[in-house]
Symmetry: C2
Subunit: 267 residues, 2 copies
DNA sequence: CGTCATTGTCCCTTACAAGAGACGCCTGTA
DNA sequence: TACAGGCGTCTCTTGTAAGGGACAATGACG
């Protein structure tokens, strides 16, 4: 994973001022940082490296990791001195799925849609103010568009982001979008006003299409999933080659909107 | 955490360091208890009830829940003052699956097996000294055998339990199996020695069948999945009607062992 | 209308966990 | 052989978070 492209190291814009002055940290916060760190690395990691990664004292890290391993939230990886997520987290995650109609049905719908169209399909949500790919199904194209579940991407880079922010006022949007988020991967810079305009357009249109934002070869089609009238809870989206014909794109959008609407019903 | 399921099985067995004398608890431990509690309730719960459920002061519980909600590990449920697992836990759980070949392939194998045979199929593992159904696929019978993912059952009640303990010595087994665990749902009581004998038999046979242990209508066929020679990492099992013919049972065991062995290879 | 139970917030105290650092143990390499 | 670097454990101190408890605001009774 390219840590370079702003996904991993995020100073968290503003208020979460990084007291690196070594102020004593609450154990729980350290744990949350550890989990988040493992989520970004996506692999087992040594405890020493972990301590360095979350900028915590070694002794503290050992203590916390032991607690977490005992609890089953983390597991020691095969070779013995590395840790990664544990079975407990998987079980809790399954509990979440079970308790969440939208996610459960959304996953099925996404899988179905990608099999049906052959394109990469995703279910996206806001996750504590950030755009998150909650589930994705790869499609059948020879080149696979990279989009791991759980990946977090700046909202302005995506079509879904424009839909997910439909319900929020300007202040809330400014709050969620950092300056860095407005800079696209290719270096271009979006204007916040333009982005907010996009959101309004997407809201009234009931779908959104972006071309060549995250990369130059794809466009992204997205449709909103409502949890209540006007409240966008999630989006379904399709990632297709940027040269897809207008007619085919329109067909796909139509299909996508229909499926997204179907998800909206009982939520 | 030994007292993890205290509320499910034994409302107040008392023996587990239940220092209700008001000893100050570490925040992290409280959090672990909260998560475990939500796992057993399987539903959103009010913060007051939660505090009562984990026997924690209200003020502390509010503080912790707020942290967890901010972090996305928990979410406020729809109506507003209830909490349940959050998206973050789902994402971490998916990370676990991704980083765990055995689980990923095991899930597929189980789904496939149950479609193929029409019987309920499960993947089981030891989870911090407890038997856990990690994944299950319902099968096509009219009466559905209840076996939720994440369910924890006393080891002696199951065929898989006998296989999972194959690698452990007597002391370790005694440590994992409480007195209560030896009492079957119908009230019968197993002798620990008999259980340990069962384990030895299962180990050398390479499979295990139990009839009418958890309930009177089913038998359970299980085969071991090895992560290293001799080390049982998981089991696959089939739950079939107790009156299934011997020949069919034998066929199923054969199939099961083959599939379990296939899982073992690369792990 | 009172009464009782619950919910969410706040403040103050002190028990205790986070952290610094030293220690012994490995393994690699110069 | 000596050194450097990482790992895992342990001890001791002190800053701080857990907890007790009071408070206002709700809502459910009768």
């Amino acid at each position: 994973m390219q840590d370079g492209n702003a996904l991993a190291a995020r100073p968290d814009a503003g208020l979460d001022e990084d007291k690196n002055s070594g102020s004593r940290e609450k154990g729980l916060n350290r744990v949350l940082q550890i989990l988040e760190f493992l989520h970004t690395t996506q692999r087992a990691i040594g405890i020493g490296d972990l301590a360095r990664g979350v900028n915590a004292p070694r002794s503290t890290t050992y203590t916390l990791v032991r607690s977490l391993v005992d609890a089953g939230l983390l597991e020691m990886a095969g070779d013995g001195n590395r840790v990664y997520f544990g079975k407990k987290l998987y079980l809790y995650g399954m509990d979440y799925v079970r308790g969440n109609d939208l996610l459960r049905r959304g996953r099925q719908e996404v899988d179905h849609l990608s099999r049906e169209t052959g394109e990469t399909s995703e279910l996206c949500m806001l996750q504590s103010g950030r755009y998150t790919i909650v589930h994705s199904s790869p499609g059948t194209r020879p080149f696979r568009i990279s989009s791991a579940t759980g990946l977090q991407i700046p909202l302005p880079w995506t079509a879904s982001g424009r839909l997910l922010l439909a319900g929020f006022d300007r202040a809330a949007i400014e709050d969620m979008v950092s300056e860095d988020d407005l800079v696209l991967p290719d270096g271009r810079r979006l204007q916040l006003d333009d982005f907010i305009d996009d959101i309004a357009v997407a809201k009234s249109a009931g779908y959104c299409v972006t071309s060549g934002l995250v990369d130059a070869y794809t466009k992204c089609l997205a449709a909103p999933v409502f949890s209540a009238p006007g409240r966008v809870e999630a989006t379904m989206c399709l990632v297709v080659p940027i040269d897809t014909s207008t007619e085919k794109t329109d067909d796909l959008i139509e299909l996508l909107r229909e499926r997204a609407a179907r998800l909206s019903i009982a939520a």
